[in-house]
Symmetry: C2
């Protein structure tokens, strides 16, 4: 028994260290989302450059988390629930890395869009979407650390708002392009950015699903509504 | 020694079984890419529906592969190189799942685009891109099974062709939209599809990088050219 307790607490310490890295990574990704949206709206190319530079740090953290998780698996040979927790760390860090990538791609387009005339207040609409995604991410990280399945379920429901905002914006872009062909190039980029923010929400949802799986042992209902209805409802 | 040999070969048998599942999954994803591109070009909504149905099978296989890999880690507690091989199985199945998703999204848009007038021969150009992505995938799976780092490096280089095709198509879509606003909605969808195919190539590249990591123990040069230059070079 003595030995078993020792092994369990060594595993717990390992897991805590990795979770601290997850939280650090999550904080950087939250900053990236907010700064990418701000740089787009204020046409701040220096801030956009900062987002791109920070993404390298995010990628390094993901690699470290994966290495550490693999080391813990090899060293502790965790079974069942412990293994599930370590594997979820790897999945969550992959989600964070992808959200960071979307923020970086958003920031990349800032320098292009800064050289074009603004299209209505669309960057404001994107900032509002990004704000929602950032909140979802913050809550997904909280739900993960606290193993809070109720909060996780609430995040999954909130993803529908983000999808609705994206779908509305998609239609808005179509009208701007039809009104004036000079808007087309900018709208193609803006549409891409909006889609990227919508995808951030999908990854927050995936993190929330991981939390539910960790807490209940079951994957949440597969029947959740899909992200993007433009592929079925925009018959132009 | 007897026991050690026994453990090693049991691990090898486990790994072989999982690799067989990877190959099965890879075959389904290859079919999905080809059929999605064909359904788009021939406006075959039944075939598109088939691609969407097959994606569920792909998702189930990914879940099984992850479960089996976790079981092997827990049961065999593999160290160093063996652990690396098991973790790479999980990464490769994640890549395959995402490529399958892109094919499904492509098929989803078939029914929308079938109701619109065709835009030049753009679906043919997309089919050629998809053909290239399918070949990259086939070779990435071969490189993985044969642990062939040379073939893997060649796949990474080939991804540039796919990026160039995407960039050319992006510019083409811009001109169609500017020529005639009635092309705008269709071009938005087609652009999405082209971008999805370009992303398939990124995931094949990621698989090839896994192979190089497995064989050499080092990640390939981070300095590889990035996927999409429209964010920097399309100043419209």
């Amino acid at each position: 028994m003595e030995k078993q307790n020792h092994i369990v607490s060594a595993f717990d310490r390992d897991l805590e260290k990795i979770q601290a890295q997850i939280m650090k990574m999550g904080g950087l990704v939250e900053d990236a989302i907010r700064q990418a949206a701000t740089s787009l709206e204020t046409r701040d190319e220096d801030l956009a450059e900062k987002v791109r530079a920070a993404d390298k740090q995010i990628d390094v953290l993901e690699a470290q988390i994966n290495e550490n998780a693999a080391r813990v698996i090899a060293l502790r040979a965790p079974a069942a629930i412990d293994l599930r927790m370590i594997l979820s760390v790897m999945k969550i860090s992959a989600n964070l890395e992808r959200i960071g990538d979307y923020a970086k791609n958003m920031a990349k387009r800032t320098s292009v869009l800064s050289k074009m005339p603004p299209v209505s207040d669309s960057t404001g609409a994107i900032r509002r979407m990004a704000r929602l995604a950032e909140e979802m991410l913050k809550d997904a990280l909280d739900a993960y650390i606290r193993r809070d399945a109720t909060l996780a379920a609430e995040i999954i429901a909130r993803d529908e708002d983000l999808d609705q905002m994206y779908n509305a914006l998609f239609r808005e872009f179509l009208t701007y392009m039809m009104e004036d062909p000079r808007n087309i190039t900018a709208c193609m980029h803006l549409h891409f950015i909006a889609k990227n923010v919508e995808r951030m929400g999908d990854h927050c949802t995936s993190m929330a699903e991981q939390v539910i799986y960790l807490v209940t042992g079951a994957h949440p209902d597969e029947a959740r509504p899909k992200a993007d209805d433009t592929s079925v409802s925009t018959r132009g």
